[in-house]
Structure formats: C-alpha cells, structure tokens
C-alpha cells in the first residue's frame, strides 16, 4: 500500500466499523426484542384486546376501577342520546350478559345499534361503564349495499359467534 493512502484508511475504518457494529447490535435488539416481547405476551392475556360483558359481570370486583376495554354488540333499542349534548347511554351485550355504558364524545362512523363496539374506560360495579373512547368493531362480512337486510343479520351473527 502506498503512503498517501494510509492516513485515509486509518481515519475511515474505525468510523465505519463503529457504525456497522451499532447497526448489527441495533437490528438484532430491535428484531429479537420485538419478536420476544410478542411471543412472551402471547402466553399472557395482554394480547386479548377487550373483555366481554359476561367476563366483566362474572369478575366484577377484579375489573372495577381500572382502565379496561369492553367489547360486544350495541344492544338494539338501548341507545339513548341526551339532546343538545354528545352524551349517550347504551348497553353492550355478548348475547348473554350486558353492561350499561355512558359516553360523552365523538363517535366513529360505524357505531350503531346491532353492530360491534369496543369501549375503553372504567367499570363502576353495579352501575355503569364510563367510557373515555369508543371504537367501532367491524365484522368480517363485506356485503353490497343492495343486500343490507341480509348483511345486518349476517354481521350480527358473526359478531356474537366471535364473542363466545
């Protein structure tokens, strides 16, 4: 190797090898960390996104006064709006038990009676679930608008089946 090149290589090599070592450790930590966390939590209940009304009623004390999610179907005929406000009250059901929910805020477009819903908030045993966030849950059914009647019945069934 010729002399003029030597300082050049000495300057760049530690830089690149440092960067490469960082890249190696970083990518291994990111991939194995994310994967490990996912596999580990898959043996716990942490990946269960919401509880059903039956689970909440059966373990009322355990579920109380902490932030949880409840999912199910908006019971038909249960939705009551307070006029002039965004406040609503409705029942979430899984076909067996139900939970009264109170919410004050903007609703997603898919929120309606007879359809899936996930509410995030706090359960006050014997009273109401105070929701701070309402998410709509879609069923796996995709049906043209001309077949709405059939679609409503089908998606209701899929949803309740999935909660069993």
């Amino acid at each position: 190797m010729t002399t003029p090149e030597t300082p050049d290589t000495q300057e760049t090599t530690p830089m690149t090898s440092n960067r490469k070592r960082w890249l190696m450790v970083g990518s291994l930590v990111a991939v194995l960390g994310a994967l490990g966390l996912l596999v580990f939590t898959s043996f716990t209940d942490a990946l269960v996104y919401f509880f059903t009304p039956t689970e909440i009623q059966d373990q009322s004390a355990k579920m109380a006064d902490r932030k949880i999610r409840i999912g199910g179907m908006v019971q038909e005929g249960s939705l009551k709006r307070t006029s002039g406000t965004l406040q609503i009250r409705f029942l979430i059901t899984d076909g067996q038990k139900d939970i009264p929910v109170f919410y004050d805020g903007v609703l997603p477009d898919l929120f309606r009676e007879g359809q899936g819903v996930v509410a995030e908030g706090v359960w006050k045993p014997g009273e109401t679930f105070i929701a701070t966030t309402i998410l709509a849950k879609h069923s796996e059914d995709y049906i043209p608008i001309e077949m709405s009647e059939e679609g409503i019945a089908k998606s209701k069934k899929s949803l309740l089946d999935s909660l069993k």
Partner: protein
Amino acid sequence: MVDGTPTPDYTPYVMAVYGLAALVYGGLTLLGHWRLKGLKQRLDDFGHDRRERSDDNSGDT
C-alpha cells in the same frame, strides 16, 4: 346507510391509500431499474478498463 342516514363519502381516504400504494410500488420499480442501469454501466466500464489494460501489457490477467 342501513339506518337511513346517508352514506358518507370516503373518496379522500380511498385515494390516499391508492396513491400511497402507487407511490411505494411504483417507486420501488423505478428505483430498481435506475440502480440496475447504474450497476450495468459500472460493469461495462470495468470491461473497457480490462480491455485497455490487456492491450497495454498482454499476458497480465
């Protein structure tokens, strides 16, 4: 919609998704062709260098 309310129009959301998909997949295609072109150019340059050198001192690898 099913409960009688008019169906909202989600065209902006649909267009955002289609636009994004076109950008990513189209971009990946263009990037691939552009890199291939550059690499082939370099490969050709090597070919020229070699021929020139082997003209200079034939017998060298």
